[in-house]
């Protein structure tokens, strides 16, 4: 079903317009990559604060307030560039196992980041080691999750090589 939709989308005038402007895809991918830096570093700083590795002179709430606008702003730009890129190559994305896994994990990652932050914001600790082992485990898991999301983004170009018969094409 998704593949049929993707094929129809690929024949649309918008998709053909994107495909025919050869500078557009590298430009959008470049912006997408700059935003990976913004979003992942925001996630990293928030997680490293929980782990007591950075900004230990500030509370978690301060660090969250500093970096979360970058996280959400970056995600919006990534979504916009990502949607245009997908419209330009809909069949490639729809048949990619990495693509669908990436989309699912991004939703999980954003919901869990929001939930995690809401839970930790009231703890106005300053210093290196006030957070529980559980909170630190979630922070480490968050870093690992977003690293995996970056891997999946790159793996879209190698879907058959990475997933073999699990490739959706």
């Amino acid at each position: 079903m998704f593949l049929d939709f993707a094929r129809a989308l690929g024949d649309s005038s918008l998709s053909i317009w994107i495909q025919s402007h050869l500078w557009l895809t590298p430009l959008l991918q470049s912006i997408h990559i700059v935003m990976i830096g913004v979003v992942f570093t925001a996630i990293l700083m928030i997680s490293l604060r929980v782990l007591g590795q950075v900004n230990t002179d500030e509370t978690f709430a301060t660090v969250w307030a500093r970096f979360s606008p970058w996280l959400w702003g970056g995600v919006v730009v990534m979504a916009m560039t990502g949607i245009i890129l997908s419209i330009g190559e809909p069949v490639r994305e729809a048949s990619s196992t990495s693509f669908w896994l990436k989309m699912g994990l991004i939703v999980i990652g954003l919901i869990s980041a929001k939930t995690f932050a809401s839970t930790l914001r009231p703890f106005a600790y300053v210093g290196a080691a006030p957070f529980s082992g559980g909170a630190k485990a979630v922070a480490l898991g968050t870093i690992a999750l977003w690293l995996f999301i970056i891997f999946l983004g790159r793996a879209i170009a190698y879907d058959v090589e990475v997933w073999g018969h699990l490739h959706l094409g």
């Binding site: 094929r7 690929g10 495909q19 050869l22 895809t25 590298p26 991918q29 470049s30 990559i33 700059v34 990976i36 830096g37 913004v38 992942f40 570093t41 925001a42 990293l44 700083m45 490293l48 590795q53 950075v54 900004n55 002179d57 500030e58 500093r66 330009g88 190559e89 069949v91 490639r92 690293l147 970056i150 891997f151 983004g153 790159r154 793996a155 170009a157 190698y158 058959v160 090589e161 990475v162 073999g164 490739h167 094409g169």
Partner: protein, 180 residues
């Protein structure tokens, strides 16, 4: 041994041939390169914006420097290792690729800019740790930001100029029964 001979020797090395023949190595190495580049750029972005006075100059510059520099260097080290491996895969193509050469030039410029800053304005950082940032430091921050964004853009361009054929049909019928 001249440079083209060295490039050819790298291309023909056992490591290069193994990387080219391995199905999983390339996506893994490329993904780690993107991950480390993201951390290099992101942590440098935070320091550069602080030099430009954003969001403010209340938190001491030395704290930013102390907190972030080790992560920047760690990620840069990973970037260099994965970057060298990627170069090994296709050394002849990369050597002749203009975008690749521009990226290397931009990286050198970033290094020179950092060296000037670390040996100039940063040495007197205690004088402006929480106050207005001197213009030399602000200039270093603005240059660094511009150069690193350029590095990411040029890096992405390499993939589209190293022999990629723009005229390939988008819906080409690929044989997906890989390895059969």
């Amino acid at each position: 041994m001249d440079t083209p001979s060295i490039i050819n020797a790298i291309h023909d090395s056992g490591l290069s041939e193994w990387l080219r023949s391995s199905l999983k190595a390339m996506p893994i190495i490329e993904a780690i390169h993107v991950m480390s580049a993201a951390v290099v750029f992101g942590t440098i972005l935070i320091v550069d914006l602080r030099l430009l006075g954003w969001p403010n100059t209340q938190r001491a510059f030395s704290r930013f420097h102390h907190d972030l520099l080790r992560w920047t260097w760690l990620a840069f080290g990973v970037s260099v290792v994965t970057g060298v491996l990627l170069f090994f895969v296709n050394s002849v193509t990369y050597y002749h690729n203009t975008a690749f050469r521009l990226k290397m030039l931009a990286l050198i410029l970033a290094g020179v800019n950092m060296w000037i800053f670390e040996n100039g304005a940063a040495r007197k950082a205690l004088q402006w740790d929480q106050g207005p940032t001197p213009s030399a430091a602000r200039l270093a921050g603005a240059l660094s930001l511009t150069i690193w964004i350029s590095v990411l853009f040029i890096a992405r361009w390499i993939g589209f100029t190293k022999g990629y054929d723009f005229s390939i049909p988008q819906d080409v019928d690929l044989n997906l029964n890989f390895g059969q």
